[in-house]
């Protein structure tokens, strides 16, 4: 896959119109000399030709020059071959060869222009192989000679070269000075049109010092110039620089456009050195805009091309870009591996030109080493974090489950406890009721067994005493004693009667009243008594209320029997939702205004009030009195 991509990048897609025209000239050339000159013109378009084409044309030119036995033409052909070497990164071979030719040219007083071209080529090779001091020396020499010969173009190129070396040394302000110097060398625009790289270098230096407006000014000049002159390599360079400026002003869309356009041009030209540079820049771009996956892919392509074409000098920036993108995409392991490779390059790379550069490299190395350690530590931390968070997550999940189970258990326990409390309360209530009933029965039993027995005994004794015919049997005291004894027994019986049960039904009160009346009526043989019952709901009364009602009815009946002079007494019991008891007689009735409230009536009123009942005493229209006791108050 990578070989295909490399092939794709290095296969020239199309040449410039100028190149096409020059190729036609070559093919149409009539003789070798003409052909040679056409070839030289074609080779002169070396910045738009790919290296293989350049080699081919240069080799043909050398062959023709050799046939011609023209040493200077051979040297010129060599110059274009060496340009090919430069394009392919074969700097050592280039320098060796160019030094030989320069030495011969100097000895043989070769053409000054060719001498300068070769020297300039040498200086480029030195810069590209990072032999900046030598390159600087060469540029200074060129400048000197150009100034001596008043060759403005060479001066411009030399000054540009010196500025370029300063750029490589990150001395951008110094570089700008030299570039500006180069700009001011001549007023002839045509010279600068031939050398658009000056504008692009100037733009790059302004960009590096953050003067983006100046940078844009010059890079647009560079793009315009190189486009017009069909200098594809310089155009691609300019586009890359403009992309860099765009990135600095956060216009990533425009930057990506320029970068891709530059890469297309590089593909068109097929220069691996610049292709790798462009790929590095694109990889860094993707790192910045947050697309590290793309950055990794691009950087990997650059590394493959650099390794294939032995562009060792490009590997550090490529590895740096690759490591950055790995880090940003979270591939810390791979990032660490790339950092290791970068460290290994340290020994093979050294700063020849300044102690500062070496210190910078050292600090870069130390920084990279520290970053690697940090990345490794972060990797360990992340692993620990995963374990920690996983443990925390499981713990949290278990805690939630435990909490839910605990709440459920608590809820069940609460319900259970509430139920137990309710049961306990109910049991206590029942126990209290049972205890009260037991106590009531105990009291009743005690009354029955003890007081009742003695009361009955006393009553019997009094009766026996009366029967003894002592002469006192009819004494009022004796009679009163007998009555008191009977009343005591009777009241005791009533008390035991209500104590024995929790409540008394209305019918039980009625039946008891009947028995009492049966005995009482023996004293009133001329009075008829009747009981009428209409009981749909046999209401239960509390013991005290039952006793109250019983006594109230006794009082009413006694009143009727004793005071009303009646011949009939009737008791009515009606019970449905509430109850009502009436005692009526056919006696003389009473005068409401003259009624005497004796103890009996007071008792009735007090008992009714105590029980919350209504009491009504009316004179009947047919005569007689009707006493109504009702549970429903009016």
């Amino acid at each position: 896959m990578m070989s295909f991509l490399i092939g794709a990048y290095l296969k020239p897609v199309a040449q410039t119109p100028k190149i096409e025209a020059l190729k036609k000239m070559v093919s149409l050339a009539q003789d070798p000399k003409q052909k040679l000159q056409a070839l030289f013109s074609l080779c002169e378009e070396r910045f738009s030709l790919n290296a293989d084409s350049l080699f081919t044309y240069a080799a043909i030119a050398k062959a023709i020059a050799t046939e011609q036995n023209n040493q200077f033409d051979i040297a010129r052909a060599n110059y274009y071959l060496y340009s090919g070497l430069l394009r392919n990164g074969l700097y050592d071979s280039l320098l060796k060869a160019v030094n030989t030719d320069l030495s011969w040219m100097k000895k043989n007083d070769g053409p000054w222009q060719l001498l300068m071209d070769l020297s300039y080529l040498k200086a480029q090779a030195l810069v590209r192989s990072n032999r900046l001091k030598e390159a600087l020396s060469t540029y200074y020499d060129l400048l000197h000679q150009a100034e001596t010969r008043n060759d403005l173009f060479i001066q411009i190129k030399s000054k540009t070269g010196i500025g370029w070396v300063n750029m490589e040394l990150n001395q951008h302000r110094e570089a700008i000075t030299w570039f500006q110097n180069a700009l001011s060398t001549s007023s002839d625009e045509k010279l600068y049109k031939k050398y658009g790289v000056l504008y692009s270098n100037l733009a790059s230096s302004y960009n590096n010092i953050g003067k983006y407006d100046s940078a844009f000014f010059f890079i647009r000049k560079a793009i315009f110039t190189t486009k017009e002159e069909q200098q594809l390599s310089y155009l691609a360079n300019s586009l890359n620089i403009e992309a860099d400026i765009y990135m600095n002003i956060k216009n990533n869309v425009a930057a990506e456009q320029d970068l891709n356009q530059a890469l297309e041009i590089r593909k068109q030209v097929g220069d691996p050195f610049y292709i790798v540079s462009d790929l590095t820049q694109l990889a860094n771009f993707y790192a910045i805009v947050g697309q590290p996956e793309k950055g990794v892919f691009i950087a990997q392509q650059g590394v493959a091309i650099a390794l294939t074409h032995n562009l060792v000098g490009k590997l550090p920036i490529l590895y740096t870009a690759l490591a950055l993108n790995y880090k940003l995409s979270g591939n810390y392991l791979q990032c660490a591996e790339v950092q290791e490779k970068l460290m290994a390059l340290k020994d093979s790379m050294y700063e020849k030109n300044s102690a500062e550069s070496l210190a910078d490299l050292q600090s870069k190395y130390d920084l990279q080493k520290k970053e690697n350690t940090i990345i490794q530590q972060r990797l360990d931390i992340i692993r620990k974090d995963y374990l920690y968070f996983a443990t925390l997550g499981i713990f949290f999940f278990l805690s939630v489950i435990a909490f839910i189970l605990y709440r459920s258990y608590n809820k069940r326990q609460r319900i259970k406890m509430d139920k137990l409390v309710e049961e306990q309360s109910l049991k206590q209530t029942i126990a209290v009721i049972k205890a009260e009933e037991k106590e009531r029965k105990r009291i009743a039993a005690d009354l029955h067994d003890n007081l009742g027995a003695y009361a009955a005994a006393m009553s019997a004794n009094v009766q026996s005493f009366r029967e003894l015919q002592t002469g006192h049997q009819n004494h009022p005291i004796t009679k009163r004693l007998e009555k008191n004894a009977q009343d005591m027994v009777s009241e005791l019986a009533n008390t035991i009667w209500v104590l024995k049960k929790e409540s008394q039904q209305l019918t039980e009160i009625s039946d008891r009243l009947k028995v009492w009346m049966q005995k009482l009526m023996h004293n009133y043989p001329n009075i008829q008594y009747d009981f009428y019952e209409h009981i749909e709901n046999d209401v239960a009364l509390s013991p005290s209320n039952a006793l109250h009602l019983f006594h109230m009815l006794q009082e009413c009946i006694n009143n009727a029997l004793r005071h009303s002079q009646c011949t009939q007494v009737a008791v009515y019991l009606i019970s449905k939702d509430g109850w009502e008891v009436q005692v009526g007689d056919n006696g003389k009735g009473f005068d409401a205004q003259s009624i005497v409230y004796g103890n009996g009536l007071h008792n009735l009123t007090d008992r009714a009030h105590a029980c919350g009942w209504s009491l009504a005493i009316k004179q009947q229209s047919a005569g007689g009195t009707l006493v109504t006791i009702s549970s429903q108050t009016t």
């Binding site: 009955a456 005791l492 009981f531």
Partner: protein, 227 residues
């Protein structure tokens, strides 16, 4: 009231000695009555009854209801099973109609309050012996009628046929008794004699007596009360 040469044999079963003394004091003045058996509880009574020859058995037993050990109800059941000709009148300080009704169902022929006069006690003996039972109280009559209405609706009750045993006249008498009428008034209302009313009530008493004879005889054998 009673012929002097044939005193009626009665018995008293009462756990409270004061009540026993009071009873004897009342009965002591009545020459026609003789207390042939005195016991402080049901077990003692049955033991004493076992040892008596037939002609010395009491004719009427005054039975206290609430006694320790064998209470009045159980003693009544056993006594009626073992000595069917001996009438039982339960004694109580107050009318607990539920217990009295149960005593009647067990075989008692009536009830009396303990503080009743000796005359009332003696009359009760006569009524029981001559008529088969003491006057029925309104409460007992009501319970009898209630039992009757319950049994007519349930054919599975052991007393399912009780309703059939009560004649229309008996039902009529019971209703008047519930209304508080005595035998005299009931007789006048129904145009029958007082004696007839009393006889009907006696029959009702007999029909109310429910005895699980097998159970009782088994208990009697267990306690060796058969003579």
């Amino acid at each position: 009231m009673f012929a002097k040469n044939t005193p009626i044999k009665i018995a008293l079963v009462e756990d409270n000695w004061v009540n026993r003394n009071t009873f004897f004091q009342k009965m002591g003045n009545n020459e026609g009555l003789h207390v042939s058996v005195e016991a402080s509880n049901g077990h003692e009574f049955l033991e004493k009854m076992k040892g008596l020859p037939l002609h010395q058995l009491p004719q009427v037993v005054f039975m206290d209801i609430e006694m320790p050990g064998l209470d009045g109800i159980e003693t009544t059941k056993l006594s009626k099973a073992l000595y069917p000709d001996t009438h039982i009148i339960v004694l109580t300080i107050f009318e607990d109609n539920d217990i009295i009704f149960e005593a009647i169902r067990s075989g008692a022929s009536g009830y009396l309050l303990k503080h009743e006069t000796n005359t009332t006690l003696a009359n009760a003996v006569t009524e029981v012996l001559e008529l088969g039972g003491a006057p029925m109280s309104p409460a007992i009559a009501r319970k009898t009628l209630q039992l009757l209405s319950t049994n007519t609706t349930s054919s599975t009750s052991p007393h399912a046929s009780l309703g059939q045993f009560l004649s229309d006249r008996e039902k009529e008498i019971l209703k008047h008794t519930v209304n508080g009428w005595d035998a005299k008034r009931t007789a006048a209302q129904l145009d029958i004699s007082v004696l007839t009313v009393r006889k009907h009530i006696s029959n009702i008493y007999l029909k109310l007596h429910v005895n699980s004879k097998a159970q009782i005889i088994s208990l009697a054998h267990k306690n060796k009360w058969f003579s």
